[in-house]
């Protein structure tokens, strides 16, 4: 790894904080490379940082002067330098949500609208970092196991990076998500099985297909760090503080746990006070292994063999970061809520009719989880709450409406008046 000399800062005054990989279980360091498993104990590798060094060029003032992308916080991301090109990822708006807050009985509610990324989901953050690394490591193909959003992100990011894209998805994925990835130029492999089977296949092929960067497998230590940038931005947008509670969906549990890592790292470099944030997670009731363990007080996360939910993007039966998610929920005073599909749809409609934001099913689970957390007293009226909206509703529109339904009306005033009366809009 190259490290900029302290006495000779680059023109962008960037001093990388990234300090290589280390095993999350046994601590054994590993050099930066396309690896994700500890040689010594088979545990997962993760990125490490020199916070003192990162803090040298990270201040509220230097950050404020930078472009509004996720590279704003490059010192705390696993890169040697921000890439010169790529999609415009990150710095999504933190929107006040007064009408939704009133309906929920909250005083301060914010929506981190990450559906406003280039491919309409937060995954662009993870893929931007993985792609920067993949090019540096010399890979030619960007690949992934995806529940949908990641597929489109890999497709678009590969295109702008001059790489090929191959995405593996469960065959029963929403047509809109497959179409988005295909239209962006990816070769889509529809695998006969649920996500966990697709993921297992990706683990096997990452050993055999040289030249393939499987972003959420052999580049996972880099890929997963992208989610921290959501927390970095939320803290900056709140005026340099962490909220009382943050609500996010749990699929693998990576986003959910990295939000805390992000707040903690900002505190480590002195940009915010030590966070005291409660972390609320949402899972669909039909695939909620972490929610089940949380609800029953168990330390064991039992994998779900056959997810049964409309929320396909959260249908991961064996979440990689499940144990960490459980520990974070308990340790932070938060919770992991199981949201029924009907409540997910109701939450999507509530968000749409109060704030004019159409989110995908995972967003419905997230908002549904907040409602449950309020009911159970995990979140109170005076808490400042941030809800992370991870994806756009056009991707899963089929669960909400059938755009072709409804009467065709004769173009006359009489016919229209009759229709308006029937619909109750007159």
């Amino acid at each position: 790894m190259t490290i900029a000399a302290r006495s000779a800062p680059t023109t962008t005054s960037f001093v990388p904080g990234f300090a290589g990989l280390a095993c999350a279980a046994c601590g054994t360091p590993a050099p930066a490379g396309p690896r994700f498993v500890c040689d010594r104990c088979f545990g997962p590798l993760e990125a490490t940082y020199d916070h003192a060094r990162a803090g040298e060029s990270l201040s509220r003032e230097t950050i404020a002067a930078r472009p509004r992308t996720l590279w704003r916080f490059a010192e705390l991301l696993p890169i040697d330098e921000p890439p010169p090109d790529g999609l415009a990822v990150g710095f999504s708006p933190l929107l006040p949500a007064p009408r939704l807050a009133a309906r929920l009985g909250l005083r301060q509610l914010w929506l981190k609208d990450d559906s406003r990324n280039p491919t309409l989901s937060f995954k662009d953050r993870n893929v931007a970092i993985a792609a920067a690394r993949a090019r540096r490591f010399g890979f030619e193909t960007l690949a992934c196991a995806s529940t949908g959003n990641l597929a489109a992100s890999v497709a678009a990011t590969a295109a702008v990076s001059g790489m090929k894209a191959v995405v593996l998805v469960p065959a029963d994925l929403e047509p809109a998500k497959i179409a988005q990835a295909e239209a962006l130029g990816a070769r889509v492999a529809r695998i006969d099985g649920p996500y966990d089977v697709v993921n297992r296949l990706c683990l096997e092929l990452s050993d055999e297909f040289e030249g393939w960067a499987v972003v959420n497998v052999n580049l996972r230590p880099y890929y997963s760090e992208g989610s921290k940038s959501v927390a970095f931005e939320v803290a900056e947008q709140l005026g340099w503080r962490a909220p009382d509670a943050v609500v996010a969906p749990i699929a693998s549990g990576s986003l959910y746990t990295k939000l805390r890592r992000g707040f903690d790292e900002l505190a480590a470099v002195g940009l915010i006070e030590t966070p005291n944030t409660r972390h609320i997670g949402g899972q669909p009731a039909g695939c909620g292994p972490v929610a089940t363990a949380f609800g029953t007080g168990s330390d064991t996360i039992r994998p779900v063999a056959r997810p049964d939910t409309i929320v396909r993007s959260l249908a991961i039966g064996s979440p990689a970061d499940g144990q960490r998610s459980l520990a974070l929920a308990r340790g932070s005073g938060g919770s992991v809520e199981a949201v029924e599909d009907a409540d997910t749809i109701a939450a999507i409609r509530l968000l749409a009719e109060t704030e004019g934001i159409l989110t995908e099913t995972a967003g419905g689970v997230t908002l549904g989880a907040l409602r449950l957390a309020i009911t159970r007293g995990v979140v109170g009226r005076d808490d400042e709450v941030v809800v992370v909206i991870t994806g756009n509703g056009l991707k899963t529109l089929d669960v909400i409406v059938d755009g072709t339904s409804g009467d065709v009306i004769e173009p006359s005033l009489d016919a229209f008046a009759t229709w308006a009366l029937k619909e109750g809009v007159s």
């Binding site: 994700f36 088979f42 545990g43 683990l203 746990t257």
Partner: protein
């Protein structure tokens, strides 16, 4: 299904070894061991390559960072290490990619 056996003993099954573990099995991608269950097969493997046991177990328990499959099935969806295996089966060891318990 009854499995073919050799000399009346347990069936011979294949175990696929991921790259990160091949240095302790003389570079082998796949090995053959005897065992009527996943646990027996792994025990036979560990007896041959004690360094593999050190890598994959803690206090006699298989590490939570290892996922074990019989063909395409996660053994946690079957009978765990007691899952029966036959001569046509392949046991696959893969990293769980889990973020640890902390």
């Amino acid at each position: 299904m009854t499995s073919p056996v050799r000399d009346g003993g347990p069936p011979v099954i294949r175990v696929r070894i991921p790259p990160v573990l091949r240095d302790v099995v003389d570079g082998a991608r796949q090995l053959e061991v005897e065992g009527a269950t996943v646990g027996e097969a792994l025990d036979a493997l560990f007896a041959r390559f004690p360094a593999l046991r050190d890598r994959l177990t803690t206090d006699g328990q298989l590490s939570t960072f290892v996922n074990v499959y019989v063909n395409a099935d996660d053994v946690r969806h079957r009978d765990g290490l007691a899952t029966a295996v036959g001569a046509t089966d392949t046991v696959i060891l893969l990293p769980a990619m889990a973020g640890g318990s902390g």
